[in-house]
Amino acid sequence: MSSNANIYHEMIVEYSRHPSNFGKIENPDVTYHDSNPLCGDSIDIFMNISDNKVSDIKFNGRGCAICMACSSVMTEIVKGKTIDEVKKIQKDDILGELGLQNLQAVRIKCALLSLKVLKYGIYTYLANKLNDTNADALKQEASALY
């Protein structure tokens, strides 16, 4: 049975007050926005790509502590990774960092909104800028996140 017991540990609370890589990038190579209509969480993501790597990433928006912490961890993981590596990031890579593997279903959307935005952002970049016809799998993966 999923439980919420102890999800509000030090790290989550700390990230919610002081998120990592929070802000905007002017004229980014990749940007994407999505929101969760149920709770109003809203995330924008900005990335610069050089040498096929994510040279910079920032996120902006507002959300609950779970959303802010997961977004922070995600940007920390993504920074410096190649696009192929970013494509392979799974939800448990992020949830695991924060001990949220057993997060209950109603809160999973808070945790995974930023990953969804990341995957859609990368998909859009691949499909539009690089004309990558294999990008559709990434879009499907993003929409299947929750």
Binding site: N4, Y8, S16, G40, D41, G63
Partner: protein
């Protein structure tokens, strides 16, 4: 009579209140503005219908059909009595408040609202009393205007005067009680202004009818909508009340069985009111369940309901305002608000707060409460909301308060 009612006795009628949730915590249900719990009387009425009387209504001549029809139609009479409605033909059963408002928008609205006309609503409406009017005004090239609120969450009714003075207002669509702030609208004043201007008024009673005495003759509006499920009844049942002269002029909302008098290949004549607006097999079992809910509230008396909520809300407001960092939205005047408390707690996001409180078994609501226009006005993304009903106790409020203390410790406030 009042002294004979005890909350302990009421609670025995609600089996769900005995439930344990989340690691064996006693359930405390404070999400009544979303939907109320159901007493055994209602649950049993629905079960009894399917066990003993199940049949379609209005058509067949067999025994079951007669019993089902009678039970269904008796509910209509009880609604009439509950709200002091003179003519039972003015009571249309629908799925809920949302459908009732849409029915008016799609029929009366389409027939009467024209380009350049104005529909007035308020900043504290539920989406169900905003979106249908957006759809209608966009289709017709009409305008949607909002009566704003002051910092106490009360309507700035002077703005209504300004809109009415244009002479273009066709309808004022307004809730009698805000589902977020609990503000009780000054309906006599709204009605006085609108009547002077000869403007129709639709009242969203989803939050008012379950919690206070509503008298349709005293109110004097043109359309009134509410839902059964917020007043001990089942989901999927609501009522549209409208003046007969309006219902007679209005085109049908849905076409189909039961709403017709005669159907020919290319033309149809309509059934009498209210059946003209009840196309298809209605939600018979749940309408009958609603009957038991009305009986239950009648037995308590709506004065008891209101007074009990005032007592609990007053207690909760006192306790909550003693906690540093809690901001309560809406008026402090207990007589101007229902049993709804929307609040924020320092920088804790309402979803985090609701999750922490839920661990202690307390069900509150967090989010925009289907009132994003109001959230924008309050300049918040979301709020937490505790809302009370007949079975809630001060001891339960204490559990919420302890839980808020725990949240403060977790977030190091």
């Amino acid at each position: 009579m009042q002294t004979a009612i005890s909350v302990e006795k009421i609670r025995k009628d609600f089996p769900i209140l005995k439930r344990k949730v989340r690691n064996d915590k006693q359930l405390v249900y404070f999400d009544n503005a979303a939907t109320s719990q159901k007493p055994l009387q209602v649950i049993n009425a629905i079960s009894d219908f399917y066990t003993n009387h199940n049949s379609n209504i209005h058509r067949a001549v067999h025994a079951l059909a007669e019993e089902a029809t009678q039970a269904y139609e008796t509910t209509r009479d009880k609604v009439a009595q509950f709200l002091n409605i003179m003519d039972r033909q003015e009571i249309v059963f629908v799925r809920g408040t949302t459908e009732a408002i849409n029915l008016v928008a799609y029929t009366w609205g389409r027939q009467n609202v024209k380009e350049g006309d104005i529909i007035v609503t308020t900043e504290y409406e539920h989406h169900s009393n905003i979106v249908p009017w957006q759809l209608l005004t966009q289709e017709k090239g009409a305008k949607l205007e909002y009566i704003g609120i002051n910092d106490d969450g009360e309507l700035l009714l002077d703005q209504l005067d300004t809109y009415l003075a244009t002479g273009r207002v066709k309808l004022v669509a307004i809730s009698q009680m805000s589902n977020v702030l609990g503000t009780i609208t000054d309906m006599p004043e709204v009605m006085r202004k609108c009547k002077n201007a000869g403007v129709r008024v639709l009242v969203d009673g989803a939050q008012s009818v379950p919690h206070m005495k509503v008298d349709m003759q005293q109110l004097g509006c043109d359309f009134f909508a509410f839902s059964a499920h917020k007043m001990l009844g089942p989901t999927g049942v609501g009522v549209l009340w409208a003046k007969k002269e309006l219902l007679e002029q209005m085109i049908p909302f849905h076409g189909g069985g039961d709403m017709i008098r005669e159907v020919h290949k290319y033309e149809t004549t309509w059934n009498d009111l209210p059946y003209k607006f009840e196309a298809g097999t209605p939600n018979i079992a749940d309408v009958i369940g609603f009957s038991a809910a009305l009986d239950y509230l009648n037995n308590l008396g709506m004065d008891y309901v209101r007074n009990h909520e005032i007592e609990i809300t007053k207690y909760a407001l006192e306790k909550m305002s003693a906690i540093k960092g809690i901001k309560v939205y809406g008026t402090k005047d207990i007589l101007k608000r229902g049993g709804v408390i929307s609040f924020n707690f320092a920088d804790i996001h309402p979803h985090d707060l609701a999750t922490i409180i839920d661990e202690d078994g307390v069900a509150i609501r967090s989010g925009h409460h289907c009132a994003q226009v109001l959230m924008e006005r309050l300049d918040v993304a979301a709020t937490s909301r505790a809302s009370f009903y007949i079975y809630n106790t001060k001891e339960e409020v204490d559990i919420l308060i302890n839980s808020l203390d725990r949240a403060a410790r977790l977030f190091k406030l």
